[in-house]
Symmetry: none
Subunit: 210 residues, 4 copies
Amino acid sequence: MSERKKTIPSLVKDPKLIEKRREQIIEAAVDLFINKGFYKTTTREIARASGFSIGTLYEYIESKEDVLYLVCDAIHAEVENRLREAINFNGSGLKILKLALRSFFRVMDQMSDRVLLIYQEAKSLPKETLRYVLGREEAISGIFEEILRKGIADSSIHIDEKHVKLMADNIMVLGEMWVFRRWALHKHYSLDEFIEKQTALLLGEMSNEK
Amino acid sequence: MSERKKTIPSLVKDPKLIEKRREQIIEAAVDLFINKGFYKTTTREIARASGFSIGTLYEYIESKEDVLYLVCDAIHAEVENRLREAINFNGSGLKILKLALRSFFRVMDQMSDRVLLIYQEAKSLPKETLRYVLGREEAISGIFEEILRKGIADSSIHIDEKHVKLMADNIMVLGEMWVFRRWALHKHYSLDEFIEKQTALLLGEMSNEK
Amino acid sequence: MSERKKTIPSLVKDPKLIEKRREQIIEAAVDLFINKGFYKTTTREIARASGFSIGTLYEYIESKEDVLYLVCDAIHAEVENRLREAINFNGSGLKILKLALRSFFRVMDQMSDRVLLIYQEAKSLPKETLRYVLGREEAISGIFEEILRKGIADSSIHIDEKHVKLMADNIMVLGEMWVFRRWALHKHYSLDEFIEKQTALLLGEMSNEK
Amino acid sequence: MSERKKTIPSLVKDPKLIEKRREQIIEAAVDLFINKGFYKTTTREIARASGFSIGTLYEYIESKEDVLYLVCDAIHAEVENRLREAINFNGSGLKILKLALRSFFRVMDQMSDRVLLIYQEAKSLPKETLRYVLGREEAISGIFEEILRKGIADSSIHIDEKHVKLMADNIMVLGEMWVFRRWALHKHYSLDEFIEKQTALLLGEMSNEK
DNA sequence: GATGAATGAGTATTCATTCAT
DNA sequence: CATGAATGAATACTCATTCAT
């Protein structure tokens, strides 16, 4: 359904070591990219912050863009994991949705910097890689599609099947905006107010008994 | 309320000429930035595409980032202008809002590339300049605040004054997503479907007679 | 007949200036390449020795290999010019040939280092460029073909038309060997002895009255 | 007379193993150097093509240049061996020479790539090593000196003792040119034509009854 | 003896910006 | 005002070599 996982070649053979080193790289690069942006971060800085030499860095990646991919992928994975962990799939679709929304908004809040990073830098990925990263994003909105469909099935949510996708996208965007419009929102609303109102907006139409 | 207009110093005295040259610069740079991104576009390319030499370019700007600012500002101005032109402030707030939404979504659609450009490159602006550009964005959401307040006043819209700002932001974001999530949306929905559903969502709660 | 002249693009517009700067580059690079070889010479060294910055160097060439091409071409041109200047086309073919050989061997001797440079580094040129450079070499052997044919025409030289090319190549090689086998030759023979014997060898068959 | 054989230190004790491994190295490196040149071939590639790890490679050599030396030396040895095998030292000097020339030209033809390799890359050897490799070359021309002297002794060859060395060098060069001027020669002459004409040229003076 | 992960000096090339003409 | 040649700091990436296991 979604794109295949991208595998970055490494000069190093030991898979355990590769994983360990790449974790170091990701951890170092996330901070750097958040603070300086992708373009203004140097491969040498990444190497140093990762705790090894520039030569070693290039034993585990092939290009600077690989680091960006690694970072984006790790962030997406974390968002997805946190979200899945937080969701309890018991109860009516509507009930699940309400709790999932709360969790999603909270994850967005907690991971602000990282989510913003993806928003701002993903475009620097090579086309092909970008496609994969966007696929990852759809995996997350897919969670909400699932919930919506469950709600439709158990009649707790009233919405046309045709618009499930759009609704899921709306959920994503109304959550992510807490991140990328924080300059406009944070001075006027607390996270809880935000969650409450966005939930109300989203459920407005679909949970109303007509 | 919003930030002061940023003035870019120029070595040239004649204001008419400055304006003319900067228009040339903007026109050239918009295309370049859309196609190659800000970082991968060189000042030489901007100068050439503008129709003059690199030396002349620097008579009208002080740094490459000035060009980005000029571009962002021009795009915002165009969005705002088009929107204002399209809005007819006669009728109930609700009616105005419906028409304004339609216009806004259409402007987003028509100016996709340019809006995306702002989304992706504005972060490269120096902090101070970025603040000003974001102020510009608030000017646009301000239009919707205005309309919402008019609707509240004439009782055609039911919404708490406290949430006017959030609602305006939601409008912005639900429109802009047509641009920055086009990869997810365009294959499933036509612009008109999109407009219809987003309008329904936004009006859902607020136009319902309780 | 021979390949077209390769033109190296330059960011600089003034052709006079391009020529002047490229002469500087060639002069600097010849010495460097002779002493360190092409690979071990740095572009920065070339720039410095040329009397300008690395940035300026790249205003006049596109790659390090361009410098090598410039150098090879200049050397070939000089060999050809010196040879043409030295040859007097009056008299019988045989007489012209004798004098031409003497001149050629002398040019080889005087330009030892430069000729050796071509021998050792030309292979580092991009394929296409190499082809052109080799064409240049044929232009020089072409001079001898011309002389040989003149001698055949006036019956002072006895040789089959079919072997003119090979004979011209032999001349080239028997001259160039003074350069690339100098370690074997210079300790045993003086230039004049060398000239005398090689001339005898070359003329042996063809000037003998049968 | 010629330089002592260069011995490359090895971390490994067993001489049999050293020889075996070095043969692997040579075989791998010859192909690599022919196709990519010495500079563009990496030690990793040599190790991989040799069938072992980079660490192991460095157990048998001390530097990349050692590999080049090994390769040049092996090629020279092969040329010399093939030539010696082909020469039958029975008969008059002149007769031996004629056959030796034929054999030499054929070896050059068969070993074109390898001979060219030496021509193009030997210069990258450290000075001291280069001297040794050139000594190897003199061993080959020494074979022809030997033959020439035999011919002088039995009066089948008429040449001044003083010029034996030059003549031997001429033989070498007129044979090697089949390799390093192949771009000029192969399209005009077959190997047999080449052999015939070069032989005629070389014997011209010296075999003529005066 | 063999391995391969780690190292970091080294390199070609780019590009925003300046300033003399 | 316009030009474009000059500048040089900055940068991604390579690769011969080492050495602990």
